[in-house]
Symmetry: C2
Subunit: 345 residues, 2 copies
């Protein structure tokens, strides 16, 4: 499955954490885009169940995204966790235990090698060439998410068949191999840099919420646009009410490590402002704050929830996911026609 083979140049971003379960992915694939299941935070058994459920509902292509395991030890996090005790008292919810894990990595690879979804993509690192080869041999195209030109070079060297190029604008976790690496690149700059260095197909991600954005990313060298936030208001999405309200607002976003110990973009709220000193310690901090976030989602407290959102979140529309995909593709065609007229080409 190549990005250029899609009927619509629209790829659903893998929205780990429940926002994008099977119904949203099915809707995007059925519309002619590429639905994506997010294996992050799930057990290997849950991933199997999601893939099987998808296939029971649709015979269109889809992808599964997997978190690469942590590449190195976390920064010291004890003092930061201690600083969250006030939050514990305030919310009346016990903090989780800081612990490391590899998100069921080996078992997930076994399941994916067996089920062979059309696309398997990776975030937070580039797997060894042998891992990519195994999945390719099973019948999956392997895509690796990159955030710098250097990461793109590594992914190509490891044998990735396409690169998901994630700009600084993106909502949710940055896919960077090293959370403390280079300052984030804007999508348009990164597409030009990566496109100049590789002939691999590129999927653009980050802050794309309109057909103009899709057309802009494709004109800059991408073959498809990966879109997350613009689908979060869809009825098929598992987005909480408090999260939907934040996305529909014009509130600013920022990058933070406060919720998970890994840089992620969300709508700015009290928890982000007051815990801006969070260390790079994923998934340890993720596990610590998880009970707080769960309780706040249930109670509808916007100041304690991770309100993941890309920079263009205010442009998301509450409509069925298939309509979003078709509308963005149609708007992109209009933008392409306008561009051709402007340039006389």
């Amino acid at each position: 499955m190549k990005p250029t083979e899609l009927e619509l140049p629209i790829v659903l971003a893998p929205l780990a954490g429940g926002s994008a379960a099977v119904p949203l992915a099915v809707a995007v694939s059925e519309a002619g885009g590429l639905g994506f299941l997010a294996a992050g935070y799930l057990t290997a058994g849950d991933v199997r169940a999601q893939v099987e459920t998808f296939r029971a509902r649709s015979n269109r292509p889809f992808g599964v995204n997997v978190f690469a395991p942590p590449a190195g030890p976390p920064e010291p996090y004890e003092a930061f966790v201690a600083s969250l005790l006030d939050e514990e008292a305030r919310a009346g919810v016990a903090l989780g235990e800081p612990r490391s894990d590899d998100d069921d990595w080996a078992a997930k690879l076994d399941v994916l090698a067996e089920l062979a979804p059309p696309v398997v993509s990776f975030a937070f690192g580039c797997p060894a060439a042998s891992v990519l080869e195994r999945l390719q041999a099973a019948g999956s195209a392997t895509w690796v998410t990159v955030t710098t030109p250097a990461e793109a070079g590594q992914a190509e060297a490891a044998g990735a068949r396409a690169l998901v190029v994630q700009g600084a604008e993106a909502g949710g976790h940055r896919a960077a191999f090293d959370d403390r690496g280079e300052e984030p690149y804007g999508l348009l700059a990164l597409l030009q840099l990566v496109g100049a260095a590789t002939d691999l197909p590129l999927v653009a991600a980050g802050g794309i919420a309109t057909g103009r954005g899709v057309a802009g990313a494709l004109a800059a060298g991408a073959d498809a646009a990966q879109i997350g936030t613009a689908f979060l208001r869809c009825p098929e999405a598992g987005t909480s009410e408090v999260h939907r309200a934040a996305i529909a607002s014009a509130a600013p976003t920022a990058l933070t490590r406060a919720f998970s110990g890994k840089l992620a973009r969300g709508v700015v709220n009290r928890f982000m402002r007051e815990h801006a000193d969070a260390p790079s310690a994923y998934p340890e901090i993720h596990h610590v704050t998880s009970p707080l976030r769960k309780a706040a989602r249930a109670s509808g407290d916007p100041d304690l929830v991770n309100l993941w959102a890309g920079q263009a979140h205010a442009l998301a529309v509450a409509e069925p996911a298939g309509d979003v995909a078709r509308r963005l593709a149609a708007e992109a065609r209009e933008a392409a026609s306008r561009l051709a007229r402007r340039l006389g080409s």
Copy 2:
């Protein structure tokens, strides 16, 4: 002068500080783009001389960019200046005096109202509606550089005739009205947000160094692309040798206040790394570090010079400026054709 009236959709970024004096602006305008003179740091008399020199060499349209005066008091800067005494000793060059000024604002407006260049643009703030009206009445189109959706709204309300939409990728100073405002927006996200809220013509700025980048920005809603770094290696540019070498490298960039007290993007060097704690205090810090930077430019010390560069700097080519402008426009037409084929439009 509207952005859509340009023969090529290429606008030279106003490169204050000497890199872009008259020859570079003339070359871009003569090629069919819009050359820009940078009034920043100059006296009103120097601005007059540059405009007259441009007009003696070319009858093509051009613009002049002006720095809006500081909107508020600086953050305390005494401790930061004291921390630079080591640099003074190390370089054997006396630091400058921290002082505020308005960059000869009123006198420059008088000169521009008299000379009426086709375009007058502003950075670091939005002038009062009466200022824009005066220049419009004299015959200039007024463009205001914006970095957030809110700034775009302010500029439109003040009567700007076009918006220069500057993304986080841009090299040199950010044009933000408030240096401590929102986290920078990536260009593609900002173009979508601003484009959804206004019908004013938009000029996209930030990290555009290839024709694909130009096409991407235009597809996303811009009417022209403003380009700085990609012209810095041209023979017509006044770029120092040490700066040219940094631009030609693949070194990462970052935003810093270390050199001027205002956020600006440059290739990361020792001075930026060691003085990351600089306050928001412009132009005070600019005047303090000015002698250090001047001496380092002359001696070729890359660790003490402000190596302003956008995120796509590695894609800049050493060729005459007219060739750059024509090449980017031709590449943009190719990218538009590729986009139309991809989308079947």
